[in-house]
């Protein structure tokens, strides 16, 4: 057992980012090593992870700013750990996919590593102060990735992304302050400890419903914007369209998951204690995100924008499963986070590869590419099938669990989703695929060819993972089962767990 595994996992990419920045053209090797070690660490942790335990595991806790009750506390359980695993897997694959980056590679790889630091921090922090710092740090590398390597309107997209999500974070911060100043520890002091504060929200004497409603709304806004859920999704298409491929992949695969993680870690423990109207509101938002996202995807001309809206739609399943509040729906929603995280990588990588091999992403201008890019076409096809929910792949398992689980508590909403989204989702995936890749090849594309081996490698690795987790979902859901039951019960603090 490695001590301080989590801190080490966060420190190494941070160090790697600093080294890459000064490593010039060798930055990619630094980045590879600096992302390989966290991957190895997370796999090691996976071996040691106790799937049946309700405890926080790999906990580290040190005093940081004792005067205001801030501690450096990190730890993972079945909610956080799958996402840690996702982050380390996606980070290294993105770095491999970007192997051929020639524009300021030192900064590029440093930013990708910094991004890994931020997301790993978010998924492991158990102190609101620390959590908020990582939550904000994530914005910085993404701002530069979009702004420096992005498309023609990159300045606008980068600034919009930063400000939009920052406003939501600030609202969340106010809610955190309110939690902090309302709850008092037995000895009169205050704490930013996440589990302690969440546990306290169950106490009506400390948090009257009227106050808790406001706090809840603030936190919820912070997470829904990040997810992003309708109607707060408008920053996403701009960011995705302008972002470079690696930026889009990281954005969709990891940054959006921060919002979902917030739902499970912070929103669900409070949900039973607030006004019941919130359940309806969140369910409506979820259903609208799923359906509206799917219809918008259907209407897109740009394949990358199509994928971006499909993210909105797929993340809606996370919200729906969470708010349905049954063991199975929550477990499914958590798995959807993981599953969408890997599948979306293939989709964005495909869009990126088409862009730089063919020179356009407009679906109507493409046609018959499969003829010249057979290997790529197979992988892309597999990715699109996974995304539309083909049985045997992880996306199917996740969405099936969400829908089955949600039917028990939210039957109407679930039926609306079933009727309106499944066909639409299949339609836009198949239509885009058919139009772009199949049919007779256009003359101007006679010279295109399969992309570099490193790009195909990253993408095929993900397809393999999608298949593995589609056939053996228990590898991941095994961790989530305990977590899902745990989410529905009162929060246990670290001291109750006996970990510190």
């Amino acid at each position: 057992m490695i001590s301080n595994a989590i801190s080490l996992m966060i420190a190494i990419p941070l160090l790697g980012a600093a080294v890459s920045f000064f490593a010039g053209s060798k930055a990619k090797f630094v980045a590879l090593i600096a992302s390989l070690i966290p991957l190895a660490l997370s796999l090691q942790m996976y071996m040691e992870f106790d799937k049946t335990s309700k405890m926080m595991q790999f906990v580290e806790s040190y005093n940081w700013v004792p005067s205001i009750g801030v501690k450096y506390t990190v730890g993972v359980d079945g909610i956080g750990f799958p996402l840690v695993l996702l982050s380390t897997i996606v980070s290294i694959l993105v770095i491999i996919y970007s192997w051929g980056e020639t524009k300021k590679p030192n900064q590029y790889f440093a930013l990708l590593l910094l991004n890994e630091v931020g997301v790993l921090g978010v998924f492991t922090s158990l102190d609101f102060f620390l959590f908020y710092i990582y939550w904000e740090i994530v914005l910085i590398p993404m701002f530069f990735l979009i702004g420096s390597w992005g498309g023609p309107r990159r300045d606008y997209a980068a600034i919009k992304f930063f400000i939009y999500t920052h406003v939501a974070s600030l609202v969340m911060l106010l809610a955190i302050f309110a939690l902090y100043f309302t709850y008092q520890m037995p000895d009169g002091s205050r704490t930013f400890d996440m589990l302690t504060l969440l546990k306290a929200t169950a106490d009506k004497n400390i948090f009257p419903t009227s106050l808790l409603n406001i706090i809840f709304a603030g936190l919820l806004l912070g997470f829904l914007v990040k997810m992003p859920a309708f109607p707060f999704h408008t920053w996403l298409p701009d960011a995705h369209v302008e972002a470079p491929t690696a930026g889009s992949v990281v954005l969709a695969a990891l940054l959006l998951k921060m919002g979902g993680y917030g739902l499970f870690r912070i929103i669900l423990p409070i949900l039973p204690h607030v006004d019941k109207a919130f359940v309806t509101i969140i369910a409506i938002i979820a259903v609208l995100s799923i359906i509206y996202g799917a219809f918008l995807a259907l209407a897109q001309k740009d394949i990358k924008k199509l994928v971006a809206y499909s993210s909105v739609s797929h993340m809606g399943f996370v919200t729906l499963g969470a708010v349905a509040f049954t063991t199975m729906s929550i477990q499914g929603a958590m798995f959807q986070q993981f599953s969408h995280g890997i599948i979306t990588c293939v989709l964005f990588m495909s869009a990126g590869t088409i862009q730089h091999v063919v020179g356009t992403r407009v679906i109507a201008d493409l046609g018959g590419l499969a003829d010249r890019m057979p290997k790529f076409a197979v992988i892309m096809m597999a990715g699109f099938m996974a995304s539309l929910g083909l049985p045997g792949m992880s996306g199917f398992v996740a969405e099936f669990m969400v829908l089955t689980g949600s039917f028990a508590t939210l039957p109407t909403y679930t039926m609306i989703v079933v009727f309106l989204s499944i066909v639409t989702t299949a339609a836009y995936h198949l239509w885009a695929m058919q139009k772009a890749m199949f049919g007779p090849i256009l003359k101007k594309y006679m010279n295109v060819h399969d992309p570099h081996a490193y790009e195909l490698f990253s993408m095929s690795m993900i397809i393999v993972l999608t298949l593995i987790f589609g056939l053996q979902p228990g590898l991941i859901t095994g961790m989530m089962g305990t977590a899902a039951t745990q989410v529905m019960q009162p929060v246990m603090t670290l001291s109750q767990m006996g970990v510190i």
Binding site: W64, V65, P66, S67, I68, G69, Y132, I133, E136, I137, L139, I140, F143, F144, G147, S148, R154, D155, A158, I159, F162, I163, H166, V167, L170, V171, L173, L174, F177, A178, Y180, F181, Q184, D187, G188, S189, R190
Partner: protein
């Protein structure tokens, strides 16, 4: 005679003697600019050491017939002023080396001494004298490079400054008339609230006088012109040092002498803070001159700091419901501590940012855009002057309140104190403003990092680089390890707001 009793004031004494000495030596020795710079830097470091050795004073020590108090609050401000001054001197080593440099450094030292006197004053007369010493020295400094722009900036600054001094003095004279004393504690116990309108008029004039120095809207008009037109390093001194002196004076006078009128000044500051941060941020979005952007950002930050007054006024007397690390801290104390932390953070960030503009202006003036501070000169700065650009990046994020920086922690404590005392609307407004400010900070960042370079790589003068790197380290250090600074600020706040 035994002077050992005066040990806590040796810092001021040292700097005064040094300043006089520099003037004398400068008139005797030719081309001694560099030497004077190093002497000033050494003197400031020594003074920092002297002030630092008396940092944690449990009980205020009074001097000169109870007009000067050395306490945790005065030491806090003195450290801020000395650090700002030291950073400006270090940066100036690259710029002021020739003729007249002795006067420049002497004026800087006199200004610093003036600010230190204000930080310690518990008497209106001493306070006014310190205020004027600092102001007169900075009026001269603002015109130091003698360009047309300098002269305009200095003239505006001088006229506005004089008028504000007059306001302040008039307010002081009314206070003296009502209380029969210029001592803050005597005025506090004189129940001047009973004088009705006269007390309000006095309050109005005092607040107006201070608000000029703090550059709160609507008393801010001089600030953008002066910060833009003065020599850039002097702008750093004005925004980071002399502005904070306004806060030091206002804290002492309002929180000690005029606490009885707190319901009145609470309201005044609530309005001033709300307008100042909103207008400052809005105006900054439309500027193309980086120093003007920084000037408006500095106005906005003054608005944030003014939240401290609002929290204190609103929450004064409320019992602490919170123990921080075992020590109960009342909402008012937390508000003042937050304001102090933001003052410390802002002083560092703004000094750094202005030194950065000075650096850019010194490098680009030959073949770039006419106005050396034009934002187009910052295009691609990261490849032209990487150290400057990286440091500026940290300052911009810190000013915007992105963690983990000094700017973030200051705002964190200050805004949370607003929640603690129930001023939710103000916290919401401040936080929205904080987000709005990102528009122009990100604009500068996107020029520096995302645009194509506006010219070839430039050599970065060493003095500036040292000052920039030191400031950056300080800004990050406070953000990452805020524990000691928080405790210090709380102790300083407790001087004016004992439990």
């Amino acid at each position: 005679m035994d002077f050992s009793h005066y040990a806590p004031l040796w810092g001021e004494a040292l700097l005064t003697v040094l300043a006089v000495l520099i003037v004398l030596l400068g008139s005797l020795m030719k081309n001694s600019g560099k030497l004077m710079g190093y002497l000033s830097a050494a003197g400031l470091i020594a003074a920092l050491g002297l002030v630092g050795s008396n940092l944690m004073i449990a009980k205020p020590t009074l001097f000169f017939f109870d007009t000067i108090s050395v306490d945790a609050l005065s030491q806090f401000f003195k450290v801020v002023f000395l650090v700002v001054s030291l950073l400006v001197v270090i940066a100036s080593l690259s710029k002021y080396t020739g003729k007249g440099a002795d006067e420049y450094f002497a004026l800087l030292l006199f200004a610093t001494v003036g600010m230190m006197v204000v930080a310690s004053s518990i008497d209106l007369i001493t306070l006014f004298v310190g205020f004027e010493l600092a102001s007169l020295s900075t009026y001269a400094l603002a015109a130091f490079d003698k360009s047309r722009k300098n002269l305009e900036a200095a003239m505006k600054y001088f006229i506005f400054g004089s008028v504000s001094s007059a306001f302040m003095l008039f307010g002081f004279s009314l206070l003296y008339g009502m209380a029969g004393s210029t001592k803050l504690t005597v005025i506090a116990s004189a129940t001047i609230a009973n004088f009705g309108p006269a007390a309000l008029i006095a309050l109005l004039f005092v607040i107006a006088g201070f608000a000029f120095k703090m550059a709160l809207v609507p008393f801010h008009m001089w600030a953008p012109d002066t910060y833009e037109g003065a020599p850039p390093l002097v702008s750093a001194m004005l925004a980071a040092g002399s502005k904070k002196m306004g806060f030091a004076a206002a804290f002492r006078v309002l929180l000690v002498a005029l606490m009885a009128l707190r319901m009145e000044w609470y309201l005044a500051f609530a309005i001033l803070a709300a307008i100042t941060m909103t207008l400052g941020n809005l105006a900054a979005c439309w500027q193309n001159n980086v120093r003007r952007i920084l000037a408006y950002s500095s106005i906005a930050q003054a608005g944030y700091i003014a939240i401290g007054f609002v929290v204190v006024g609103k929450a004064y007397g409320l019992a602490p419901t919170t123990a921080f690390n075992g020590i109960p801290i009342s909402p008012a104390q937390l508000g003042l501590a937050g304001a102090l932390l933001l003052i410390l953070g802002h002083a560092l960030m703004k000094t750094g940012a202005f030194i950065g503009t000075a650096q850019v202006a010194s490098m680009v003036s030959k073949n770039d855009a006419n106005d050396p501070d034009d934002i187009s000169n910052y295009a691609g700065l990261v490849s032209r002057a990487p150290v400057t650009a990286l440091c500026m990046l940290i300052f911009m994020f810190a000013l915007a309140g992105i963690p983990p920086t000094a700017g973030y922690f200051g705002k964190f404590v200050l805004f949370s104190s607003a929640i603690y005392s129930g001023l939710v609307w103000l916290a919401v407004l401040a936080i929205l403003n904080s987000a709005l400010s990102l528009v122009y900070y990100l604009r500068i960042i996107s020029y520096m990092f995302l645009k194509e370079p506006a010219g070839p790589k430039m050599a970065e003068p060493k003095g500036y680089v040292v000052a920039l790197v030191l400031t950056t380290i300080a800004v990050l250090y406070i953000g990452l390890f805020p524990q000691a600074f928080f405790d210090w600020a709380v102790q300083a706040a407790a001087v004016l707001l004992p439990q």
